[in-house]
Protein backbone atom coordinates (compact mmCIF):
# COMPACT_ATOMS: atom_id res chain seq x y z
CA UNK A 1 0.00 0.00 0.00
CA UNK A 2 1.21 3.47 -0.74
CA UNK A 3 2.43 5.43 2.28
CA UNK A 4 0.01 8.18 3.15
CA UNK A 5 1.32 11.45 4.55
CA UNK A 6 0.20 12.07 8.12
CA UNK A 7 -2.43 14.78 8.23
CA UNK A 8 -1.16 18.08 9.60
CA UNK A 9 -2.27 18.95 13.11
CA UNK A 10 -4.29 22.10 13.18
CA UNK A 11 -2.43 24.70 15.21
CA UNK A 12 -5.13 27.30 15.05
CA UNK A 13 -6.11 26.95 18.70
CA UNK A 14 -2.55 27.30 19.94
CA UNK A 15 -3.11 31.02 20.39
CA UNK A 16 -6.17 30.36 22.53
CA UNK A 17 -4.22 28.03 24.79
CA UNK A 18 -1.41 30.54 25.11
CA UNK A 19 -3.87 33.30 25.92
CA UNK A 20 -5.42 31.14 28.59
CA UNK A 21 -2.06 30.59 30.23
CA UNK A 22 -1.16 34.23 29.87
CA UNK A 23 -4.32 35.37 31.57
CA UNK A 24 -3.80 32.85 34.35
CA UNK A 25 -0.35 34.28 35.04
CA UNK A 26 -1.57 37.84 34.81
CA UNK A 27 -4.16 37.18 37.46
CA UNK A 28 -2.19 35.07 39.94
CA UNK A 29 1.11 36.88 39.99
CA UNK A 30 2.32 40.30 40.95
CA UNK A 31 5.40 42.29 40.17
CA UNK A 32 6.96 42.33 43.58
CA UNK A 33 8.66 45.37 45.00
CA UNK A 34 11.81 43.90 46.45
CA UNK A 35 13.86 46.88 47.41
CA UNK A 36 13.92 49.03 50.47
CA UNK A 37 15.83 50.95 53.10
CA UNK A 38 17.58 48.60 55.48
CA UNK A 39 17.82 49.78 59.07
CA UNK A 40 18.82 48.29 62.38
CA UNK A 41 16.79 48.86 65.51
CA UNK A 42 18.57 49.42 68.80
CA UNK A 43 18.23 46.52 71.22
CA UNK A 44 16.19 47.13 74.33
CA UNK A 45 18.58 47.87 77.12
CA UNK A 46 17.91 47.53 80.80
CA UNK A 47 17.16 50.91 82.36
CA UNK A 48 20.36 52.66 83.12
CA UNK A 49 20.83 55.44 85.63
CA UNK A 50 24.03 56.95 84.36
CA UNK A 51 22.88 58.63 81.20
CA UNK A 52 25.31 59.11 78.40
CA UNK A 53 25.89 62.79 77.92
CA UNK A 54 26.01 63.88 74.31
CA UNK A 55 27.15 67.36 73.56
CA UNK A 56 24.53 69.59 72.03
CA UNK A 57 26.74 70.36 69.06
CA UNK A 58 27.16 66.71 68.20
CA UNK A 59 23.43 66.26 67.83
CA UNK A 60 21.60 67.05 64.62
CA UNK A 61 17.95 67.15 65.51
CA UNK A 62 15.37 66.54 62.82
CA UNK A 63 11.77 67.00 63.83
CA UNK A 64 8.79 66.07 61.73
CA UNK A 65 5.48 67.30 63.05
CA UNK A 66 1.96 66.04 62.58
CA UNK A 67 1.42 68.28 59.56
CA UNK A 68 4.49 66.78 57.91
CA UNK A 69 6.51 69.95 58.42
CA UNK A 70 10.22 69.66 58.91
CA UNK A 71 12.23 71.38 61.61
CA UNK A 72 15.98 70.93 61.46
CA UNK A 73 18.14 72.32 64.27
CA UNK A 74 15.31 74.71 65.21
CA UNK A 75 14.87 76.02 61.67
CA UNK A 76 12.08 75.08 59.29
CA UNK A 77 13.46 73.39 56.20
CA UNK A 78 12.34 71.83 52.93
CA UNK A 79 13.10 68.18 52.31
CA UNK A 80 15.26 68.97 49.32
CA UNK A 81 17.71 70.94 51.51
CA UNK A 82 17.92 68.27 54.21
CA UNK A 83 20.52 66.11 52.51
CA UNK A 84 22.99 68.97 52.12
CA UNK A 85 22.45 70.12 55.71
CA UNK A 86 23.07 66.59 57.00
CA UNK A 87 26.20 66.25 54.88
CA UNK A 88 27.58 69.53 56.22
CA UNK A 89 26.88 68.44 59.78
CA UNK A 90 28.49 65.01 59.44
CA UNK A 91 31.45 66.24 57.48
CA UNK A 92 32.22 69.16 59.76
CA UNK A 93 35.14 67.73 61.75
CA UNK A 94 35.22 70.47 64.37
CA UNK A 95 37.91 69.00 66.64
CA UNK A 96 40.35 68.35 63.82
CA UNK A 97 40.74 64.62 64.54
CA UNK A 98 39.07 63.72 61.26
CA UNK A 99 41.70 64.21 58.59
CA UNK A 100 39.51 63.16 55.68
CA UNK A 101 36.63 65.50 56.45
CA UNK A 102 36.17 68.36 54.02
CA UNK A 103 33.73 70.39 56.09
CA UNK A 104 34.01 73.90 57.45
CA UNK A 105 35.58 72.77 60.78
CA UNK A 106 33.05 74.93 62.56
CA UNK A 107 33.49 74.88 66.33
CA UNK A 108 29.77 75.05 66.88
CA UNK A 109 28.98 71.96 64.82
CA UNK A 110 29.93 68.29 65.19
CA UNK A 111 33.38 67.21 66.45
CA UNK A 112 33.94 64.29 64.08
CA UNK A 113 31.82 61.82 62.11
CA UNK A 114 32.19 59.21 64.82
CA UNK A 115 30.62 61.47 67.43
CA UNK A 116 28.05 63.10 65.19
CA UNK A 117 24.60 61.73 65.79
CA UNK A 118 21.50 62.48 63.79
CA UNK A 119 18.42 62.28 65.92
CA UNK A 120 15.09 62.05 64.21
CA UNK A 121 11.85 62.56 66.02
CA UNK A 122 8.39 62.37 64.62
CA UNK A 123 4.85 62.74 65.79
CA UNK A 124 2.41 59.84 65.94
CA UNK A 125 0.36 61.42 63.21
CA UNK A 126 3.18 62.08 60.81
CA UNK A 127 2.45 60.32 57.54
CA UNK A 128 4.63 57.34 56.74
CA UNK A 129 5.36 58.59 53.22
CA UNK A 130 6.96 61.73 54.58
CA UNK A 131 8.78 59.78 57.23
CA UNK A 132 10.38 57.60 54.56
CA UNK A 133 11.31 60.67 52.54
CA UNK A 134 13.22 62.06 55.51
CA UNK A 135 14.85 58.71 56.28
CA UNK A 136 15.84 58.44 52.65
CA UNK A 137 17.51 61.85 52.65
CA UNK A 138 19.43 61.11 55.85
CA UNK A 139 20.65 57.77 54.53
CA UNK A 140 21.53 59.55 51.30
CA UNK A 141 23.78 61.94 53.23
CA UNK A 142 25.73 59.02 54.69
CA UNK A 143 25.90 57.30 51.33
CA UNK A 144 27.18 60.46 49.68
CA UNK A 145 30.04 60.79 52.16
CA UNK A 146 30.88 57.10 52.08
CA UNK A 147 30.94 57.17 48.33
CA UNK A 148 33.23 60.19 48.32
CA UNK A 149 35.73 58.40 50.54
CA UNK A 150 35.37 55.14 48.61
CA UNK A 151 36.14 57.01 45.44
CA UNK A 152 39.17 58.70 46.96
CA UNK A 153 40.64 55.51 48.45
CA UNK A 154 39.59 52.76 46.11
CA UNK A 155 38.44 54.59 42.98
CA UNK A 156 41.49 53.28 41.15
CA UNK A 157 40.09 49.75 41.31
CA UNK A 158 36.85 50.86 39.68
CA UNK A 159 37.84 53.02 36.73
CA UNK A 160 35.03 54.98 35.15
CA UNK A 161 32.73 54.20 38.07
CA UNK A 162 31.01 57.17 39.64
CA UNK A 163 29.28 55.41 42.50
CA UNK A 164 32.25 53.48 43.88
CA UNK A 165 30.71 52.59 47.24
CA UNK A 166 27.70 51.00 45.61
CA UNK A 167 29.95 49.22 43.13
CA UNK A 168 31.82 47.72 46.06
CA UNK A 169 28.61 46.61 47.73
CA UNK A 170 27.38 45.12 44.47
CA UNK A 171 30.64 43.24 44.11
CA UNK A 172 30.31 41.90 47.61
CA UNK A 173 26.80 40.76 46.77
CA UNK A 174 28.07 38.98 43.68
CA UNK A 175 30.81 37.19 45.62
CA UNK A 176 28.57 36.06 48.43
CA UNK A 177 29.69 32.45 48.06
CA UNK A 178 33.39 33.11 48.02
CA UNK A 179 34.57 35.40 50.74
CA UNK A 180 36.70 38.28 49.62
CA UNK A 181 38.39 39.44 52.81
CA UNK A 182 40.08 42.36 51.15
CA UNK A 183 36.86 43.76 49.78
CA UNK A 184 35.01 43.23 53.04
CA UNK A 185 37.83 44.97 54.87
CA UNK A 186 37.58 47.95 52.56
CA UNK A 187 33.85 48.22 53.00
CA UNK A 188 34.22 48.03 56.77
CA UNK A 189 36.90 50.71 56.59
CA UNK A 190 34.56 53.07 54.79
CA UNK A 191 31.68 52.30 57.08
CA UNK A 192 33.93 53.12 60.02
CA UNK A 193 34.83 56.49 58.52
CA UNK A 194 31.19 57.55 58.53
CA UNK A 195 29.36 55.24 60.92
CA UNK A 196 25.61 55.35 60.51
CA UNK A 197 24.48 56.96 63.74
CA UNK A 198 20.87 57.68 63.08
CA UNK A 199 18.87 57.54 66.23
CA UNK A 200 15.14 57.49 66.37
CA UNK A 201 13.42 58.63 69.49
CA UNK A 202 10.01 57.25 70.19
CA UNK A 203 7.29 59.53 68.90
CA UNK A 204 5.83 62.17 71.11
CA UNK A 205 2.54 61.25 72.61
CA UNK A 206 -0.18 63.81 72.66
Amino acid sequence: MAKRAAPEVNAGSMADIAFLLLIFFLVTTTIEKDKGILRSLPPIEPPNDDEVVIKEKNLFIVLLNRNDQLLVEDDPMEIKDLRQAAIEFLDNGGDGSCNYCQGKRDEASSDNPDKAIISMQHDRETSYGKYISVQNELVAAYNFLRNREAKRLYGKFYPGEDDVYNAMLAQKEKNQFKKDEELNGRIEEIKKMYPLKLSEAEPKKN
Binding site: A18, L41, E137
Partner: protein, 156 residues
Amino acid sequence: MSKFKNKKKGELPAISTASLPDIVFMLLFFFMVATVMRDNTLLIKNSLPNANQVEKLKKDRTTFIYIGEPADRFNGKYGTEARVQINDKFSSLEGIGLAVQEYVTGLNEEFKDKFVVALKVDKEANAGLVSDVKQELRKANALKIMYVTGEGEVEE
Protein backbone atom coordinates in the same frame (compact mmCIF):
# COMPACT_ATOMS: atom_id res chain seq x y z
CA MET B 1 -20.15 35.25 -14.49
CA SER B 2 -17.02 37.15 -15.16
CA LYS B 3 -18.44 39.96 -13.12
CA PHE B 4 -18.19 37.91 -9.92
CA LYS B 5 -14.70 36.73 -10.69
CA ASN B 6 -13.43 40.27 -10.97
CA LYS B 7 -14.76 41.10 -7.56
CA LYS B 8 -12.98 38.17 -6.03
CA LYS B 9 -9.69 39.32 -7.44
CA GLY B 10 -9.85 42.75 -5.86
CA GLU B 11 -10.36 41.41 -2.29
CA LEU B 12 -7.55 41.63 0.24
CA PRO B 13 -6.03 38.32 1.28
CA ALA B 14 -6.76 37.32 4.88
CA ILE B 15 -4.04 38.33 7.37
CA SER B 16 -2.13 35.32 8.51
CA THR B 17 -2.55 34.64 12.23
CA ALA B 18 0.05 31.91 12.26
CA SER B 19 2.45 34.02 14.34
CA LEU B 20 -0.15 35.00 16.91
CA PRO B 21 0.71 32.07 19.22
CA ASP B 22 4.36 33.10 19.10
CA ILE B 23 3.54 36.63 20.17
CA VAL B 24 1.30 35.46 22.98
CA PHE B 25 3.89 32.96 24.16
CA MET B 26 6.44 35.73 24.21
CA LEU B 27 4.18 37.79 26.49
CA LEU B 28 3.51 34.72 28.59
CA PHE B 29 7.18 34.04 29.15
CA PHE B 30 7.78 37.66 30.02
CA PHE B 31 5.16 37.55 32.72
CA MET B 32 6.33 34.19 34.01
CA VAL B 33 9.85 35.52 34.44
CA ALA B 34 9.13 39.03 35.68
CA THR B 35 6.47 38.28 38.26
CA VAL B 36 6.10 36.10 41.30
CA MET B 37 3.11 34.26 42.67
CA ARG B 38 1.09 36.18 45.18
CA ASP B 39 1.75 34.63 48.54
CA ASN B 40 -0.37 36.87 50.71
CA THR B 41 -3.82 38.14 49.98
CA LEU B 42 -3.75 41.77 50.95
CA LEU B 43 -6.58 42.83 53.20
CA ILE B 44 -5.32 46.37 53.27
CA LYS B 45 -4.51 49.20 50.95
CA ASN B 46 -0.82 49.12 50.32
CA SER B 47 0.70 51.78 48.13
CA LEU B 48 4.33 52.06 49.08
CA PRO B 49 6.32 55.29 49.24
CA ASN B 50 9.29 55.88 46.97
CA ALA B 51 12.92 56.17 47.95
CA ASN B 52 16.20 56.15 46.06
CA GLN B 53 18.75 54.96 48.61
CA VAL B 54 17.53 51.40 48.44
CA GLU B 55 19.10 48.00 48.91
CA LYS B 56 17.91 44.71 47.59
CA LEU B 57 15.73 42.55 49.76
CA LYS B 58 16.87 38.99 50.40
CA LYS B 59 13.76 36.93 50.08
CA ASP B 60 15.13 33.75 51.64
CA ARG B 61 15.45 35.37 55.05
CA THR B 62 12.65 37.89 55.11
CA THR B 63 9.23 37.93 56.65
CA PHE B 64 6.68 40.57 55.80
CA ILE B 65 4.46 42.79 57.90
CA TYR B 66 1.85 44.82 56.08
CA ILE B 67 0.38 47.99 57.50
CA GLY B 68 -2.36 50.11 56.04
CA GLU B 69 -5.98 51.09 55.99
CA PRO B 70 -8.33 48.09 55.52
CA ALA B 71 -9.43 47.59 51.93
CA ASP B 72 -12.77 49.07 50.91
CA ARG B 73 -14.63 45.78 51.20
CA PHE B 74 -13.68 45.53 54.88
CA ASN B 75 -14.53 49.09 55.83
CA GLY B 76 -17.84 48.05 57.33
CA LYS B 77 -16.20 45.49 59.53
CA TYR B 78 -12.85 46.99 60.44
CA GLY B 79 -13.27 50.72 59.91
CA THR B 80 -10.71 52.93 58.25
CA GLU B 81 -7.99 53.09 60.89
CA ALA B 82 -4.70 51.58 59.70
CA ARG B 83 -4.08 48.02 60.85
CA VAL B 84 -1.35 45.43 60.87
CA GLN B 85 -1.57 42.36 58.65
CA ILE B 86 0.63 39.30 58.95
CA ASN B 87 0.18 36.17 56.81
CA ASP B 88 -3.30 36.66 55.38
CA LYS B 89 -4.92 37.98 58.53
CA PHE B 90 -5.10 41.06 60.68
CA SER B 91 -2.92 40.93 63.74
CA SER B 92 -2.81 42.83 66.98
CA LEU B 93 0.39 44.51 68.07
CA GLU B 94 0.95 41.79 70.66
CA GLY B 95 0.72 39.14 67.94
CA ILE B 96 3.75 40.48 66.09
CA GLY B 97 6.34 39.03 68.42
CA LEU B 98 4.75 35.61 68.20
CA ALA B 99 4.52 35.72 64.41
CA VAL B 100 8.18 36.68 64.16
CA GLN B 101 9.19 33.86 66.48
CA GLU B 102 7.15 31.43 64.44
CA TYR B 103 8.91 32.56 61.30
CA VAL B 104 12.36 32.24 62.85
CA THR B 105 11.62 28.73 64.07
CA GLY B 106 10.84 27.59 60.56
CA LEU B 107 13.87 29.30 59.11
CA ASN B 108 17.02 27.68 57.82
CA GLU B 109 19.68 27.44 60.50
CA GLU B 110 22.17 29.60 58.62
CA PHE B 111 19.79 32.56 58.43
CA LYS B 112 18.54 32.44 62.01
CA ASP B 113 20.71 35.25 63.27
CA LYS B 114 20.39 37.49 60.24
CA PHE B 115 16.75 37.42 59.31
CA VAL B 116 15.05 40.61 58.25
CA VAL B 117 11.56 41.86 58.91
CA ALA B 118 10.29 43.79 55.92
CA LEU B 119 7.68 46.44 56.59
CA LYS B 120 5.33 47.16 53.74
CA VAL B 121 3.55 50.22 54.93
CA ASP B 122 1.02 52.32 53.10
CA LYS B 123 2.26 55.84 52.66
CA GLU B 124 -0.92 57.28 54.15
CA ALA B 125 -0.51 55.34 57.39
CA ASN B 126 0.57 57.12 60.56
CA ALA B 127 4.20 56.83 61.50
CA GLY B 128 3.08 56.31 65.10
CA LEU B 129 1.68 52.87 64.33
CA VAL B 130 4.92 52.00 62.58
CA SER B 131 6.90 52.90 65.67
CA ASP B 132 4.59 50.76 67.80
CA VAL B 133 5.35 47.87 65.48
CA LYS B 134 9.07 48.62 65.69
CA GLN B 135 8.82 48.65 69.46
CA GLU B 136 7.23 45.19 69.36
CA LEU B 137 9.99 44.00 67.04
CA ARG B 138 12.60 45.27 69.48
CA LYS B 139 10.90 43.31 72.23
CA ALA B 140 10.97 40.21 70.01
CA ASN B 141 14.66 40.88 69.32
CA ALA B 142 14.07 41.26 65.60
CA LEU B 143 16.41 44.14 65.07
CA LYS B 144 16.99 44.15 61.33
CA ILE B 145 14.16 45.78 59.51
CA MET B 146 13.62 46.96 56.00
CA TYR B 147 11.20 49.60 54.87
CA VAL B 148 10.12 48.24 51.52
CA THR B 149 9.76 51.06 49.02
CA GLY B 150 9.37 51.65 45.37
CA GLU B 151 12.35 52.99 43.54
CA GLY B 152 12.09 56.59 42.47
CA GLU B 153 12.25 60.16 43.62
CA VAL B 154 10.96 60.89 47.09
CA GLU B 155 7.80 62.89 47.51
CA GLU B 156 8.23 66.45 48.62
